[in-house]
């Protein structure tokens, strides 16, 4: 692997980006794993050498000694980071953090949970969205570099506390914890990203999935995060786009899920009912929604298909290639103009009326999914460990050019 690779989930998250990143890091020498969206709500499960870890802010290559860099697009939660680091044996020497990244505070978290209690949205209760929303309206939103200037940090944290009116966490104690965070991690300038990219191949590890994208997902059941390749493109001029999908579709929490089928017997080892997200839902592979994801992501160069062992165990599992909506058959979700949330909201209502129309069970799942999504499958995964992965030599499957999304052609 000499090129940089960006790993993005084409569904609603949970497709297995963590194991894919881990496998890429084990297969090749990788300079660093770069996180480019979301924050502490990510949960990427990796099993390596008998060790299971749910990666959240550390990159999924950590167990292999690959450094993690949190880019300026991340929302950094020092409190959650300390717990995750402790579970990993405090590998702070492997971590760098961009000083421009936003800081999530206990008050953002509390505000998120208060909203979630009154109006369930399906978020993770970690305050990521709240942190992003606050930053949009407050130029002095706390950022990582502030922990190096306790006086400024205090001022900015006081503003956050005042804005939300929670008094349970004293500012002094948060300042102390955040300053301690600043001593443990290496805070770097934005140019550090360039240096890593120049020094060797890097893996960009995405969080959540394209169908949850803040602009492209089923509004309002989305995340406050750009989950497509857009952020990566801002950090890196050239990279290969690797889309990750499962052989079946899952969704954590509320929102449209056309192919949902609770009768499918697909036990989940690492995902369960989330306190803030709600139930973990499963259903047939939704080729219609995934094709939409590929389209709005601007295309993918290759695919990783995970959970290929599942169709063998659940013989009722199928692939859905078209919807029936208001008596009509549709095999494509037409992307609207970018950043048009009213359109996305109409799409959500439309999807709520949609039911699977055509379902079939393929003989070769990987090939079938590659064909439906228009990109070669270069990585097949049959289990959580790296040895359960099979790298497929390029060229075995039909290579596909990058399809421009239709809205780009207008």
């Amino acid at each position: 692997m000499r090129e940089h690779v960006a790993v993005v989930d084409l569904g609603y998250g949970d497709a297995g980006k963590g194991t894919v990143v881990d496998a890429l890091c084990g297969n090749q020498r990788v300079r660093a794993v770069l996180r480019f969206n979301g924050g502490a709500q990510a949960a990427h499960n990796v099993v390596a050498d008998g060790r299971h870890h749910t990666f959240s802010q550390f990159g999924a290559g950590t167990l292999r000694g690959v450094p993690t860099h949190l880019t300026r697009f991340m929302v950094v939660d020092p409190l959650a980071l300390s717990a995750e680091a402790a579970a990993l044996g405090n590998p702070y020497h492997l971590l760098t953090v961009d000083g421009d990244a936003l800081l999530a505070t206990p008050w953002h978290r509390a505000a998120n949970r208060r909203k979630e209690r009154s109006n369930r949205h399906g978020s993770c209760g970690m305050g990521i969205g709240e942190t992003m929303a606050y930053a949009l309206t407050h130029a002095d939103a706390p950022r990582v570099a502030d922990v190096l200037s306790p006086a400024r940090l205090r001022r900015r944290l006081e503003r956050v506390q005042e804005a939300y009116g929670f008094t349970d966490a004293p500012v002094d104690d948060v300042v102390e914890a955040f300053v301690a965070f600043g001593r443990a991690v290496r805070i770097v300038h934005e140019s550090h990203t360039m240096r890593l990219l120049a020094e060797g191949p890097c893996v960009f590890e995405g969080a959540q999935g394209v169908l949850l994208d803040e602009w492209r997902g089923w509004h309002p059941h989305t995340t406050w995060s750009t989950t497509t390749f857009d952020n990566v493109a801002e950090l890196c001029p050239s990279f290969r786009r690797l889309g990750v999908v499962r052989t079946y579709t899952t969704r954590h929490g509320a929102g449209p899920f056309v192919t949902e089928n609770p009768l499918l017997d697909l036990p989940e080892t690492h995902n369960g009912h989330g306190e803030w997200q709600g139930a973990f839902r499963t259903g047939h592979f939704d080729a219609v929604a995934h094709r939409y994801a590929v389209e709005v992501a601007g295309g993918v160069d290759e695919l990783a298909v995970t959970h290929l062992d599942a169709p063998v165990r659940e013989t009722g599992l199928k692939i859905c290639t078209s919807y029936r909506v208001d008596g009509e058959i549709h095999d494509r979700i037409v992307p609207g103009p970018h950043r048009d949330l009213a359109h996305q909201e109409r799409l959500t209502a439309w999807l709520d009326r949609a039911r699977p129309a055509e379902l079939h069970r393929p003989a070769d799942w990987a090939t079938e999914i590659g064909g439906l999504l228009g990109a070669p499958v270069t990585l097949e995964s049959y289990g959580p460990r790296a040895i359960d992965k099979r790298f497929v030599p390029a060229g075995v499957h039909r290579p596909a050019g990058i399809r421009l999304p239709t809205y780009c052609l207008v």
């Binding site: 717990a83 402790a86 209760g125 190096l148 914890a177 965070f181 443990a184």
Partner: protein, 306 residues
């Protein structure tokens, strides 16, 4: 994605970070260092600068120098753990505008290997790093004198502050110790420790007068220290600095004492308000601070104007 599995509270997080970094607060000294850390070595230093910046446009320079010789016993270690809070105390209640703090340490040039250490003016936690790099000498000559005059010489001649240049406002200097200065600044020691060529010795009274053009100078005598409460020490410093000699019976109150002294000097608070602030903040130091600051209580607050 998932559900914030690594969620934790602020106290556990702080403890985790501290355990992970796990450095002794005195890492440099405890590592066996017997020479000044390069960042704190005064040799060949042209100027230590306290400058205004976009972020800190109205800087207030504050210097804290403490005696690290044996007679001070455990005092330097307590100071090293307490002083990092100083910036927070100063800014929380607005006692000082844009404080820039420099830490340093005083030894004995007649017999110590590290007679003088001076950090940089900092307005963030880099000052903690300087503190952690101070070598705790623990020696001293046993003649009831340390090289305070050498430190005062350095601060008089090798500090430039925008507060003075731009606004004709002095900085603050706190000397914390328990002994007497030598009677003269000696050219040989200046050459050896700082590198300046000095034609003749400078009487301590002259260097104090020169220093007071730049700083409001205070001497804090912790009564827990070796010569705490010593009449000769008190009288000598009172002769040099007048009422700016503060006796402190509880070292834990050192930050509060310094912060409130600056607040009084800046006319940002009066003593009663300041003591109320401390009580409101839950500080147990109010009594000690009130005792230490008694000499300053009834005088006009405009002590800093030139």
């Amino acid at each position: 994605m998932g559900s914030g599995r690594w969620s934790t509270d602020v106290y556990t997080a702080a403890e985790n970070f501290r355990a992970a970094t796990g450095r002794s607060a005195f890492a440099y000294s405890d590592g066996g260092a017997r020479t000044a850390h390069p960042d704190l070595d005064p040799k060949g230093v042209f100027m230590r600068e306290s400058r205004d910046s976009d972020e800190h446009p109205v800087s207030t320079p504050i210097v804290v120098m403490f005696d690290v010789t044996g007679s001070m016993g455990n005092v330097p270690r307590v100071l090293q753990t307490k002083l990092p809070q100083l910036l927070g105390l100063l800014t929380r209640k607005g006692y000082a505008t844009d404080p820039q703090i420099m830490f340093g340490a005083i030894g004995d040039a007649t017999c110590d290997r590290v007679p003088l250490q001076v950090g940089q003016f900092e307005s963030d936690n880099r000052m903690d790093e300087h503190l952690s790099r101070i070598v705790l000498e623990g020696g001293g000559g046993g003649q009831k004198r340390e090289s305070y005059e050498l430190a005062m010489y350095f601060l008089a001649r090798h500090v430039v502050a925008d507060s003075l240049v731009q606004r004709q406002r002095k900085g603050y200097l706190f000397l914390i110790g328990d002994e007497l200065p030598y009677r003269k600044v000696k050219p040989k020691e200046v050459k050896q420790v700082i590198g300046d060529d000095l034609a003749e010795a400078i009487p301590v009274e002259s260097i104090v007068a020169e220093l007071q053009r730049k700083f409001e100078v205070f001497f804090i005598l912790p009564t827990a220290a070796g010569y705490g409460g010593d009449r000769e020490v008190l009288d000598t410093w009172r002769g040099l600095l007048g009422q700016n000699v503060l006796e402190l019976d509880d070292l834990d109150a050192v930050c509060e004492t310094i912060a409130l002294t600056v607040g009084l000097g800046e006319d940002n608070v009066d003593l009663d308000e300041g003591l109320d602030d401390l009580a409101a903040y839950g500080s147990a130091a109010a009594g000690s601070v009130a005792g230490a600051l008694a000499p300053l209580a009834d005088r006009s607050p405009q002590i800093r104007r030139l």
